[in-house]
Structures are given as C-alpha cells and as structure tokens.
Amino acid sequence: MTTQEKVWKEIPMAGVCWKPSTQYLTGDWKTYKPIRDLEKCTRCVLCVLFCPDGAIHWKPEKEDIEFDFNFCKGCGICANECPVDAIEMKLAEET
C-alpha cells in the first residue's frame, strides 16, 4: 500500500483522490470473524443493512448473502443484530 508512486508534480490538481478505496483492504484489522450458520439463517438481510463496512452482500441470483472478508473489520454488529442468532464471532486465527 505505498503512496510513493507519484512525485508532487504528477499529483492531480487539488490533490484529488484517484484510487477507489475498494483497493485498500481493511479485512486484516479483525480479531474476530463472523461465521454464519446456514441452517439458522433466514436471509432477512438485516446484517447487510447494518454492516458499517458494506462487507456483507446480498446476491439476488443466489438468494443468499455473502461475506467479503477483505473488508470485514470484525466488529460483530451482524452477530449482535441477527434476529435468529445465526452468526457467531470466532477468533480469526482459529478459523
């Protein structure tokens, strides 16, 4: 993640950010990792709405949700808000 790619003369006018933040992976911040119980999950998509990092995606073609561990910071909001307790937080190293 180096920012030394351009010298000051090549920086865009007014220092406009030119890279999408989706290239900056925040997934390695986490200590705990959400593990979903596929049997219990009712696909209510509340976790998709509440995730601060947009790391849970609803896939309509598969009728299922998908975790994106490249961005999940392991806060556990999804596990806390899950109405059927289908998500469990486990230590990321152990999984």
Binding site: W18, P20, S21, V48, N70, N80
Partner: protein, 322 residues
C-alpha cells in the same frame, strides 16, 4: 419519486453502495452505517459535500476515496455554505443549458462538531436563504476524530478528554443542545431525527429530505464505540436503546408541524414501554463514573432532563397525555 420508491429490505440491500467498503472508520462505527443507508436513498445524479470530521477523514485518505459520486470538502465550518454554492451553481448552469440533467441532488454531511458548534452559522445562513439541499448531521456526541473532545452535542455527565470525570467533576456539566428544534425555528420545510436501528424510517426520511423543495435537515444518531467506550458490536443496539429510553426520540417537523415517528409514537401511546435511562447509560464506559455512590444523583438528573424534554416534545406533537 417517493411513491415509486421501494422500501423492502432486499430492494435496499440489492442497491449498490455509493459509499463503498475500504473506508477507514473504526470497527463498529455507526456513522458509516448511517452514510451507507442514506446514500441508498438517492436516485439519479447526486453531489455530496462533507464537513471535516470522522467520515471525511476516514473516507478520503489520499490517494483512496470511498465515494462513487462527485464529492467535495473544503473546511470544517462550511458544509452548508458549500452545499448552497453547489446548488446555486447548478441552478445557473441549468438556466444557461450547460448541463443536461433535470435534477441534481445536493447532500451535505457533517458531524456534531461541524454542526452544533463550528458549522451552525453556515447552516443557519443556508437554511435562511432557502437553498434546496439535504443536510445530514451524524451525531456521535463529541469530536471523535481529534480525540474525543466535548461538543455542544455531548450529553450531561459524559466523560470526554476536555470534560473528564474525576473526583470532583461528573463529566460534562451541561445538557445537549436541542439543535433540531433550533433548525425548525428557521421555518425549514423539513426537519427530522432518525436512528440507524430503524433503517426504514431513516431511509424514508432521507428520501423525503431530498425530494422536498428547499432545505431539509436530518439529525441522525450515530453511536461511536471508540469515544463512548462501548462494545464495538453494540453500536446499533445503542441506537435502538436511545429511542426506547426517549434520550433520542424520533420525530419529524414538516413546515414546523411536529409529528412523532412510529417507534416513538408507540412509546407515547403506551408509556409503560419507555425504558429507564439507566439501561442506556450502563452500556457505555463514558458514563461509568455515574454508577459510583458519589455521582448517582447525576443519573436522576439525566432522567429528569430526558423526561422533561420528552413531555415538551409530546406537547409540540399534540400528544400530551394530560
């Protein structure tokens, strides 16, 4: 149009994020949830301006940006001035036929520091001039980005780095400034409070604010686990408890007519559902000192202020129970 808008959870979940992943807000930051949900309420071209604050700093660390739409930041105090400038420029460009778009929405995001204290003059001016924009205040109740200093939005009894709790002081001595009432007093066409736990209510209010002709103000509660010393997984739960304890009731004012929103209306109709503030306070480390014998009285004071404000709000909504 509002009537064409789909509010089903899956329709909203399916919409691509305009505030994308990879931003560097802390784990469990409710402000990020608020921004994601509000950006899902947009349709068509939108320009966003952000005051200095957590969400500006976390979303655009050079050279990365989390915004998929035109975004502008100048200084701490002028999110509203920026928004009025953008709106005025769009108006003249449209008049001269320089842009093909029929309607371009303008949204300003600011934290509580950038609204309660530093940005209030710009906001007051922009609302008075009647520019057509939506101003969103994400309220995490202190200057969290610079290291938890007190702001006008910090509640009574909260310990921050500039109002620390000690042997003499019980944290901040002054209650929270009623900012939304101040903005309603400007004769604004639309002002509302919202909480991310009630996401449908939040998105509907953001949509109404965008569509209303003239300025709109949205005050959104955004728990901050770092500054509130709360568990990172409890941010959304806290935003629910704040509504249930009436610390942060949900209401909207359309042309100055106050009306309670559904979650708070349920509490007004069945007062036994109202929870004591103690439940809300004990989840947060910034109120930890209040649970010692010395400062117990402050909890009663917080309860008294909360009840007083709730009763006053009920009167404004013509829902006072005798």
């Amino acid at each position: 149009m509002f009537s064409e808008w789909k509010f089903a959870a899956k329709d909203i979940a399916e919409k691509p994020d305009l505030f994308t992943s990879g931003h560097r807000a802390c784990a469990g930051c409710a402000s990020a949830t608020v921004l994601r949900l509000i950006m899902k309420a947009t349709m068509g071209p939108t320009i966003v301006t952000t005051a200095t604050g957590c969400m500006e700093v976390a979303s655009t660390i050079y050279p990365y940006t989390s915004w998929k739409i035109p975004w502008i930041h100048t200084a701490f105090e002028n999110a509203a001035a920026n928004a009025s400038g953008i709106e005025a420029a769009l108006k003249i460009l449209k008049k001269k036929g320089r842009i093909p778009q029929e309607q371009v929405d303008v949204i300003a995001f600011a934290g509580d520091g950038g609204t309660y204290d530093i940005g209030i003059q710009a906001l007051s001016g922009a609302v008075e001039r009647g520019h057509d924009f939506l101003y969103v205040l994400y309220d995490n109740e202190a200057y969290m980005n610079t290291g938890i200093q007190r702001s006008g939005g910090t509640p009574l009894g909260a310990s921050t780095t500039t109002s620390p709790a000690g042997t003499v002081m019980p944290g901040k001595l002054e209650p929270k400034k009623p900012i939304t009432e101040i903005i309603v007093a400007h004769n604004i066409p639309y002002a509302a409070t919202a909480s991310p736990y009630y996401w449908r209510d939040l998105i509907a209010k953001a949509r109404k604010g965008i569509e209303v002709n003239g300025p709109a103000f949205l005050h959104v509660f955004a728990p901050c686990p770092r500054g509130w010393r709360s568990d990172i997984s409890k941010s959304i739960e806290l935003s629910c408890l704040a509504v249930e304890t009436c610390v942060f009731p949900l209401w909207e004012a359309i042309n100055g007519e106050y009306q309670l929103s559904a979650p708070s209306k349920a509490i007004a109709l069945k007062p036994e559902r109202k929870k004591p503030v103690r439940e809300y306070l004990q989840m947060q480390g910034r109120f930890r000192h209040l649970f010692t014998p010395k400062f117990e009285k402050v909890i009663d004071e917080i309860q008294r202020i909360t009840d007083e404000r709730w009763q006053r709000l009920l009167k404004k909504c013509s829902m006072a129970l005798n």
